[in-house]
């Protein structure tokens, strides 16, 4: 269960995991205001990628990533069109 230290690596691996099997993969977001931290997890029940942060600058990245994944899951065309660094923030 890799914990990623950099956003770059996390978003790349997460994007790949989602594209491999969109039906199996899910994205989980956990926010604790009391502790001031945010955790993003992407998993397909075999592999689990986690990114934790307490930095305000990461909120925008995570929120953008979330929106992009939402668009990807809702898109009717084949996911291959969205490939090519479109998701990496």
């Amino acid at each position: 269960m890799p914990h990623y230290q950099t956003w770059e690596e996390f978003s790349r691996s997460a994007e790949k995991l989602c594209l491999e099997d969109p039906m199996k993969a899910r994205v989980v977001l956990k926010y604790r205001h009391a502790d001031g931290n945010l955790c993003s997890k992407v998993t397909d029940d075999l592999v689990c990628l986690v990114y934790r942060t307490d930095q305000a600058q990461d909120v925008k990245k995570i929120e953008k990533f979330h929106s992009q994944l939402m668009r990807l899951t809702v898109a009717q065309e084949s996911p291959q069109c969205y490939y090519g660094n479109r998701l990496t923030v």
Partner: protein
């Protein structure tokens, strides 16, 4: 698990965030959804079920209360804007950058 309309889901989600401000966590889950309403039986055929490709399921909980909504490609634009604003407005308790504070970033948070 309460299934809501997109707008209602956003309202309830705001409430969840506000409720968990003093203590507690908010969990949000996003997953692709193919429109199934019954589980797939191990044996036998699935009766007349056509998997749709353009929906996703969004769930949120604070550990006690659960809410969910289904977003399809038609609503995704409007929903996504509202959802992004909601997240950005509510996830504001994190540390700002100490070194080289960029004034532009803190101002755009408003």
């Amino acid at each position: 698990m309460v299934l809501l309309e997109s707008e209602q889901f956003l309202t309830e989600l705001t409430r969840l965030f506000q409720k968990c401000r003093p203590s507690g966590s908010v969990f949000i889950t996003l997953k692709k959804y193919d429109g199934r309403t019954r589980s797939i039986p191990k044996k036998g055929s699935v009766e007349g079920f056509e998997p749709s490709d353009n929906k996703c399921l969004l769930r949120a909980t604070d550990g006690k209360k659960k809410i969910s909504t289904v977003v399809s490609s038609k609503e995704v634009n409007k929903f996504q804007m509202a959802y992004s604003n909601l997240l950005r407005a509510n996830m504001d308790g994190l540390k700002k950058r100490d070194k080289k504070s960029k004034n532009k970033k803190t101002k755009t948070a408003q």
